[in-house]
């Protein structure tokens, strides 16, 4: 960022909130607060934030340029020993180099305790403050508050001074413990335009104010002495007053409950209540308006124009020689895509780094067979294009990165390839995983929407969630014996994501170990004739066959035998145990599981009863469950299938989904009854 030679003297006028201003200041601990022995909102809370207040503003200094400064004040009440961890606090900070880094300072750090009827104050001294350099780019500043006990109140303030104007902090309203009052205040001069976004299910009270400011620009004018002997330099201070406007926004939330984790969640950060800001533009006095990113089109343009992206996409000379040999005699587009994709996947090895900008450049990556995500996938795109295929980069935000809240460059952190066919369908390709295949991209990239950038600079949203159901097809021939033992032969077929995950997990697993683990997890007494097909042929489904013996599947009570026709395939527990749910259930990909079993009834027994068939359909066809049992000539014919057609199910449907699974669990655990003739 260009530095501007002026000093802004900001007259700080505190935004006074009439209702709350009295209560939310540090250093005002009362006896009542110290005596309180449980959190009123949630009696099981280990601690609570009495308040958490933050303020972010922008400052200029002649030596350092603009800095973004965040002041945070926390007042925390500790109720239980489990809450002692709130007596330690740490803040990571970014280090670009020795002179450009974030700086953190703590102050007003005091522990208050009740001793008899008196308030005892213990201040944090330097021995409780630590700084650690984690690696080249990251450090951590930590404090350890003294004398923390059950009932203590802890207060501290910290200030983060950051030279990185584009990384505005994220304010999190929701925390793991209740927050009685959360306030965030931003003061942004008109020179900066930030987009803000509030995420999560809570609605803070927002008040916006615009304040006129007068600043004095003081410029030093260096005047060279004139004339033959006058060589001295004279400095003149030139002062100019400039009026500017500052937008002041305050966000307030009261009585915020603690946040809980649940099953089948994509990234919890997507759902916790927070506010974030992204630098969209700057318009410094007497300078042009400089756009950083205002919409996704701008973001895309900025990324595309960068040499580490667009520039790398246009390089071809490094692969041209290999390319001719590779595509010799191949003319069909479909074949070309497959050959190029498999070539890059086989040749390149992902070094574990994300990013949409290349690291060492495609040329180097190609030479060394190693690269980051951009090295590998941009190379793939370049080769496809060279072969005449309409391939484009698709920018992606990984699951860990979360769902981007507004258009900005940090919203994405990954890139894959998309091949646009004549019928406008798009094939997704990611060559960073050896087991990936067309439209089967690693889970990390399977998040929300990506943005495809065409050669002409236009871009388009692309849904990254798979549309096609991944299939698990289990068929079985089993024979039940009079002692309750079941012997059977099972064949399991896995397609798409099921196969992808299986390959990732079991790709180089020792077979004997695998069988022993299978015996353990399924409670088999023996597994034999194990065979696994197509582990390395990604164009075909995984096919696993084995024979098993199990004596844990049948209950013999008196003259009767009881067993579930699901045998060892039933869902025994409803994964959705929580009463309510605030955020969507994420199944990752649509599925279709089906089971077709033929189970022979032992000599001397006949079928007494069997479960009724069922056909369950969730609304909008989100889920389907079918189950039928029939008997024919002493053999039980059983079929069951479960489909989840919508990988992401909104929380509004949670009760429905929970009940759907409840019905499945009940049905799958119903028994067939055989009786002795």
């Amino acid at each position: 960022m260009e530095k501007i030679k002026f000093i802004i003297y900001l007259t700080i006028i505190f935004f006074v909130n009439i209702v709350f201003s009295q209560d939310y200041k540090l250093g005002k601990v009362t006896l009542d607060e110290l005596k309180q022995d449980r959190c009123a909102m949630d009696t099981s809370a280990v601690a609570e934030y009495i308040f958490s207040k933050g303020k972010t503003y922008i400052e200029y200094s002649q030596t350092d340029g603009f800095k973004i400064i965040t002041e945070v004040e926390n007042k925390i009440k500790i109720y239980k020993k489990e809450g002692y961890s709130y007596g330690n606090y740490e803040i990571p900070f970014y280090i670009e180099n020795n002179s450009t880094k974030e700086q953190i300072s703590f102050s007003n750090a005091i522990t208050y305790n009740l001793v008899g009827d008196k308030i005892e104050k213990t201040k944090l001294k330097s021995e409780g403050e630590f700084e650690e350099q984690v690696n080249k780019n990251w450090g951590i500043k930590k404090i350890t508050m003294p004398n923390v006990k059950e009932g203590s109140i802890i207060e501290y303030k910290y200030v983060i001074r950051s030279p990185f104007i584009s990384s505005f902090p994220i304010w999190e309203f929701e925390k793991k413990i209740p927050v009685l009052y959360s306030e965030y205040f931003t003061q942004i001069p008109e020179y900066f335009i930030y987009n803000s976004n509030i995420r999560g299910g809570l609605n803070p009270i927002i008040s916006v104010d615009k304040k006129k400011r007068t600043i004095t620009l003081r410029e030093i004018e260096h005047v060279q002495g004139k004339g033959k002997y006058e060589t001295a330099v004279k400095s003149n201070f030139v002062s100019t007053n400039i009026d500017f406007e500052q937008v002041e926004t305050k966000y307030i939330l009261n009585s915020i409950s603690s946040f809980n984790d649940e099953v089948y969640v994509n990234n919890i950060k997507n759902y916790t209540s927070s506010i974030s800001h992204e630098l969209a533009a700057t318009r410094y006095p007497n300078q042009d308006y400089k756009n950083y990113a205002l919409d996704w089109e701008n973001v895309v343009e900025t990324i595309y124009d960068d040499n580490a992206f667009g520039g790398e996409l246009n390089k071809t000379n490094y692969f041209e020689v290999d390319f001719e040999a590779l595509l010799n005699n191949i003319n069909l587009d479909e074949q070309k895509i497959s050959v190029i994709y498999n070539f890059v996947k086989a040749k390149m090895n992902w070094n574990g780094y994300m990013g949409y900008y290349t690291d060492n450049g495609v040329k180097n990556a190609y030479k060394n067979n190693i690269g980051n995500v951009a090295d590998i996938n941009l190379m793939l795109i370049a080769m496809l294009r060279y072969g005449g295929i309409n391939a484009n980069p698709i920018l992606v935000s990984t699951r860990l990165n979360g769902i981007p809240v507004f258009p900005n460059r940090n919203g994405y952190n990954y890139v894959i390839a998309g091949v646009e066919l004549d019928n406008k369908t798009i094939i997704l390709l990611d060559a960073t995983n050896k087991n990936a295949s067309p439209n089967i991209i690693p889970e990390r990239a399977m998040n929300w929407f990506g943005r495809m950038i065409r050669k002409d600079g236009t871009s388009e949203m692309v849904d990254l969630y798979p549309k096609k159901n991944s299939i698990e097809n289990v068929s079985m021939l089993a024979e039940l014996q009079t002692d309750g033992t079941i012997k059977g032969k099972q064949r399991k077929q896995l397609t798409d994501y099921y196969a992808f995950l299986f390959r990732n997990e079991n790709g180089n697993r020792n077979q004997e170990n695998y069988i022993e683990e299978l015996e353990k997890t399924e409670n088999f007494s023996l597994v034999e004739e194990y065979k696994l097909d197509n582990l390395n042929d990604l164009t075909k489904p995984i096919i696993e066959t084995y024979s098993f013996t199990s004596n844990s599947l049948v209950d013999i009570i008196g003259s009767k035998m009881y067993f579930s026709p699901m045998l060892f395939h039933q869902i025994t527990e409803n994964p959705f145990k929580a009463e309510n749910r605030l955020y969507p259930v994420d199944f990752n990909f649509p599925i279709k599981d089906s089971y077709t079993f033929s189970i022979k009834i032992p000599e001397g027994y006949v079928l007494e009863s069997k479960p009724e068939p069922i056909n369950l359909v969730m609304e909008e066809n989100m889920g389907l469950f079918k189950y039928t049992v029939a008997e024919n000539m002493g053999t039980i014919q059983f079929a069951c299938s479960l489909e989840i057609n919508t990988p992401i199910i909104e929380s509004a449907y949670y009760q429905h989904l929970k009940e759907f699974f409840n019905q499945i669990v009940l049905k799958q655990n119903e028994k067939i009854v055989l009786i002795k003739k």
Binding site: D42, S44, A45, V46, K80, K81, E82, G87, N88, T111, T122, E127, G128, F130, E132, V134, N135, K136, K142, T144, P146, N147, V148, K149, E150, S258, N260, N349, W350, N351, N368, I370, G507, N508, N510, E512, N513, E516, E517, K520, N523, S525, S552, D555, I557, G558, K560, Y562, T572, E573, K577, S609, P611, N662, V665, L666, N669, E670, K671, V673
Partner: protein
């Protein structure tokens, strides 16, 4: 203290590695490939004790990595700090055919702080190799040289240090100067072909052609079954402190004088408080309990690992002022507090781990990774865990039970053994009554009392958030009960008796499987074994049950008037060397009395016993799933 437990094995090499060995993975002997993710082709470690203040560790390790899982076995990393310097570290990668494909120099290794996950601050750092293989298999030749002043630790040699890794050749040589009292101890050498050669100032151990092993459930810890050699010096240096000790007595005295006794000052305020607290108390143990609880309320556990700070406790006065410290600081502080009220206690060094780890009691050297406090009390010493603010007085739970430890007494060290908790100490007794309704729902109330190590497993639930407590019951304790609703719960933590009581009231919808008019009722509702231990085609390792326990469940089940019992599981008693299992049902009109007893004994068994044990558990799992069949009368 953790950073110095040095469980990571320091390994290295000598320069005699000759050119004629080709680093081609194609030349690997076939039997070494079996079950292996990686093969140590040749590892040479050379340790030179240069003086009491200088130790050099050189490694050369040639590893063929066969697949991605084998990458973790390379261990190309070294630690450093103010007292330990990495003088050389480099690696060369060879492809399948043995030609060099990449050279990695020191500057290409990644520099990282050793974040141990619990220390507030540590000054330990490491350099590690971050290499992305371009193909498998490949061979890496890793070389390093580290020099340290800490001669108190000579790395233990584990020729087998990873599962799924075979060893073609591996050796260690220690060169030492004679007047420092060099010593070593071999462990688990039985049935292993380990060569040893010795001269007046050098010793070498070597092995060849060891096949890859795989991990097995219930296997004892590596130090109990894998061959290893520990080394030590009578005269050593520890972060600048020079010591000399031939016996535990001497060693303990040195430790006391140099690391523990420096200052016993605490504030007048605390002294006065203590005086007031124990004023009317004459019994030493009761006084100690009061002081211990005072300390628990005043402090919290925070770990700081800096230089000698990794060894020497913070001053008691500082703990007094700040209200926190690590295991050393808090134990020593408590010792000083106790001294102030006239109760004698000893700083005690131990291995803290829920997996029991013992002191090498006939090998005088710096050992342990944790500190507790011991109050001498006739033949039943009282042990205080000072880093836990909630644990009862005199109870260390499974973190420090049943193992040897070193008392640091003013007149010298002494090895003692901590409390053993047997199957008759570790009890969980469940009393419950359940109403079965004719719609298949059950309502129940339970009282569960836990003692001994079973107390340790549960008592912390007391202060958890409501959601987490419910989650514990629904997803872990009673995970087989679908549709479990917890109506209420309450806890009683009796720290005196060391007894934890849970009172739970619940209901479970659709508990019973209804088939037409028949009701299948699994009679064991609340305490099921659900997992059978893994079956091994060819078990290699002995097996160990680290702690015994007893579970007794007595449940009264009320059944509806119109239910008729059609079939009942048989009562059963199984007794063997591993323990006892009893399953009893007594019918009394509409009342079913169910009693289950399970006793598992502590034991260390030969591998041949494993299958018997597995079958024992399989039987239990089966009987725990027994059902009563009711018919509903119309």
């Amino acid at each position: 203290m953790k950073q110095l437990s040095l469980t990571f094995l320091l390994l290295f090499s000598i320069s005699t590695f000759s050119q004629e060995i080709k680093y081609s993975s194609l030349l690997t002997p076939k039997e070494l490939v079996e079950n292996a993710n990686s093969i140590i082709r040749n590892q040479e470690i050379l340790i030179s004790v240069n003086s009491q203040n200088s130790l050099t560790i050189k490694k050369k390790k040639v590893v063929t990595v066969l697949n991605k899982s084998g990458l973790n076995n390379v261990d190309a990393k070294e630690y450093y700090s103010k007292s330990e310097k990495i003088k050389n570290i480099e690696a060369i990668i060879y492809n399948d055919f043995g030609s060099e494909i990449k050279k990695i120099k020191k500057k290409d290794f990644i520099d990282q702080s050793v974040a141990d996950g619990f220390s507030v601050l540590t000054d330990g750092r490491m350099l590690y190799l971050d290499y992305t293989p371009t193909s498998y298999p490949f061979t890496i030749v890793y070389e390093s040289e580290v020099e340290t002043i800490n001669t108190a630790f000579i790395p233990t040699w584990y020729p087998i240090d990873d599962y799924f890794e075979s060893v073609e050749k591996s050796s260690i040589t220690v060169n030492y100067i004679n007047d420092l009292g060099f010593k070593y101890k071999e462990k688990n050498f039985e049935n292993r072909l380990i060569k040893k050669s010795e001269t007046s100032n050098t010793i070498t151990f070597s092995v060849e052609n060891i096949l890859a092993e795989k991990p097995e459930d219930y296997a004892p810890s590596a130090d109990k079954i894998l061959p290893n050699v520990v080394f030590g010096l009578d005269k050593f240096n520890l972060e600048g402190f020079e010591g000399s000790a031939k016996s535990w007595q001497e060693f303990g005295m040195l430790w006391y004088e140099n690391l523990v006794s420096e200052s016993e000052e605490i504030s007048e305020e605390t002294k006065n408080k203590l005086k007031a607290l124990v004023a009317n108390e004459t019994n030493d143990l009761k006084k100690a309990q009061i002081v211990y609880e005072f300390m628990q309320n005043k402090t919290r556990y925070v770990s700081v690992q800096l230089g000698i700070g990794g060894w020497k406790p913070m001053l008691p006065l500082d703990v007094d002022k700040l209200g926190y410290g690590d295991c050393k600081a808090l134990s020593n502080y408590t010792r000083v507090l106790l001294k102030n009220v006239g109760v004698n206690s000893y700083y005690t060094v131990i291995y803290g781990d829920s997996r029991k780890k013992d002191f090498e009691k006939d090998f005088v050297s710096k050992q342990g990774n944790h500190v507790i406090l011991t109050i001498p009390n006739g033949d039943k010493n009282v042990f205080l865990e000072c880093t836990n603010q909630k644990i009862p007085f005199g109870f260390g739970g499974d973190f420090t039970d049943d193992r040897h430890a070193l008392l640091i007494k003013p007149d010298g060290g002494e090895i003692i053994k901590t409390t053993v908790y047997t199957e008759s100490d570790n009890i969980q007794a469940t009393d419950g009554s359940v109403q079965l309704n004719s719609n298949g729902t059950i309502n129940g109330s339970l009282k569960i009392v836990s003692k001994g190590i079973q107390y340790d497993d549960i008592y912390e639930i007391e202060d958890e958030a409501k959601d987490d407590i419910e989650k514990h019951y629904k997803s872990s304790r009673f995970h087989w009960l679908n549709n479990l609703k917890i109506n209420s719960y309450s806890f009683k933590n009796d720290k005196k008796l060391i007894e934890f009581t849970e009172n739970i009231s619940m209901n479970v919808e659709n508990y019973v499987n209804i088939v037409g008019n028949s009701f299948m009722f699994p009679v064991n509702i609340f305490n099921r074994k659900t997992n059978v231990p893994q079956r091994y085609r060819n078990r290699k390792q002995p097996f160990e049950i680290q702690r015994g326990y007893t579970d007794i469940d007595i449940i009264q089940i009320n059944i509806p008037e119109n239910f008729k019992i059609e079939a009942l599981p048989d009562n059963i008693t199984i007794e063997n060397k591993f323990g006892t299992y009893k399953f009893e049902i007594l019918i009394n009109n509409n009342l079913i009395n169910y009693k289950r007893t399970l006793i598992i004994k502590q034991g260390f068994y030969d591998k041949s016993e494993y299958e018997n044990y597995r079958q024992f558990i399989e039987q239990i799992v089966k009987h725990d799933n027994s059902k009563i069949l009711f018919n509903k009368l119309q």
